[in-house]
Amino acid sequence: MTWYLKEGPESDVVISSRVRLARNLNDVSFPWRLSPVELENVRDRVTNAFRDVVCNAGSERPVVVELDTLGEIESCALAEKRIISRAMLKDTRGKSLLLYPGESDGILVNEEDHLRLYSVGAGLCLFKTAGCVIKCAADMEKRLSFAKSDRLGYLTACPTNTGTGMRASAMLHVPGLIRAGVIKRLAERLTKAGYALRGAEGEGSEAYGDMIQLSNQVTLGVSEEQILTDLDRLVRDVAEEERKARRALYENDPPALEDEIGRAKGKLLFSRLMTTEEAMRLLSLVRLGRELELPEMPSFSTLQELFIGIGEGVLQQAAGKPLDPRSRDEERARRIREALRPST
């Protein structure tokens, strides 16, 4: 089963965990200063090392995706699955995505750094995902020489990643905190404490579907273990606040909230045209219904499948052809109806 369909620890609030490590080759300039030929060269070196690692492990064939050969729909779908960032799509020259079997671990080549290794997992599982990605990085480091210094640790293109190169993040569903109007204040407090609160698709994105991402900002002068321990505790605290906010929201007027959630489910079940924005808003309400353990709510995996599967890229990829905006709204509504239809 694909990792994002599984229910992990704390999954009533924490949808997924992600840890990435930034690494660079020590004998080449960072990607933004390289010519197309030099970028190709880096790509080949990293890809060869990667193939060697995966073949040594004796597992299935690795997947190598050269982003500059991908069509618009496929790239868009990768961004919707949060495998690559939308920023990465602006200039895809010499960039690659290397996927380990299982799709939860991978390496982005020639983004801001030569290697961005990542691992994702369901629910709150920062230590487990970090364990995976650190192992991947160690395997690669046996074959490639990374840029690092005794004083500053791993050297990265941006000084906000220097040291461990580690950015750990968790995606949380926080309809309670958003409705209580405390997100902005929380974001300010977190910024001061060295953390970032962002929308679901990372930097600069909106908190659509009531999803937010919490991540560490400090990568230098703290150990990997400390980063993970602190973020883990922080995520647990925010999740607890969210649970309190949900209870308060529900107890304030149970029929009103049940009505709103019921209507959202009704719309999802019977609509014929649905924009991404509306779908995300309604799905968030239904997800809240499930989290409040209201009866007749869709399963966690159905909600996850829709959350990932109704973006324009994934939708067109599944349809196997480009669709105009109206046909996309029609196709989206159809997929939602089918997924939510009670299985009788």
């Binding site: 020590n26 364990g131 640790g153 000084p159 900002q217």
Partner: protein, 185 residues
């Protein structure tokens, strides 16, 4: 003393900055200092330290304030390995190569202090990260999903019955019932 920026109000804020061994002094009124810091007067945020005399630029590095004495301008620094200039660093906020870390070391330290709160990496030896071992065993545990545990117990039950160890078989049977109850709820 008048504020060197607006040349109207009294300068009440005096700052000294040393860049590449060149000392620079700034004398500003509160309003100009505040404007130059993006309105972050007295903020404790690592991103907007009042005493870091940089203009809000496109990157973390910002731009130095206009120099009172042009002759004091430091010489242009360029990375000998990749050719990145100080100007490019301030514009992009990105280092060009690993050598840049040495080339622009003086410029980087205040940035690290502001953005990271630290200026030195903590080296943890590979074998002293017990949590990696912990996670490995944890993930193994996770692979042992209840259904496979039941399978395992069932096969143990079969062997117990075969060797006529009924006490052990009864214990295993109860354990299987427990697990089945857990997974069905």
């Amino acid at each position: 003393m008048l504020c060197q920026q607006c040349k109207q109000r009294d300068a009440t804020i005096h700052m000294t900055q040393v860049v590449n061994h060149v000392k620079e002094e700034y004398h500003l009124c509160r309003a100009c200092a505040s404007a130059l810091q993006g309105g972050e007067m007295g903020s404790k945020s690592p991103w907007g330290d009042l005493f870091e005399p940089v203009l809000p630029g496109p990157s973390l590095f910002g731009y130095p304030l206009s120099r009172p004495d042009r002759r004091a301008a430091p010489k242009r620094v360029v990375c000998p390995q990749c050719g990145e200039s100080e100007r490019e660093l301030r514009d992009t906020g990105l280092l060009g190569c690993s050598q840049c870390y040495e080339t622009f070391f003086d410029l980087l330290i205040p940035v690290f202090r502001r953005a990271q709160g630290h200026t030195q990496h903590i080296q943890v030896p590979d074998d002293s990260a017990p949590w990696i071992a912990i996670t490995e065993s944890a993930s193994k545990e996770e692979e042992n999903e209840p259904t496979s545990k039941i399978e395992q117990l069932r096969s143990e039950l079969r062997t117990a019955v075969e060797r006529e160890d009924y006490r052990e078989a009864a214990r295993l049977r109860d354990a299987i019932h427990e697990l089945e109850k857990e997974t069905s709820t």
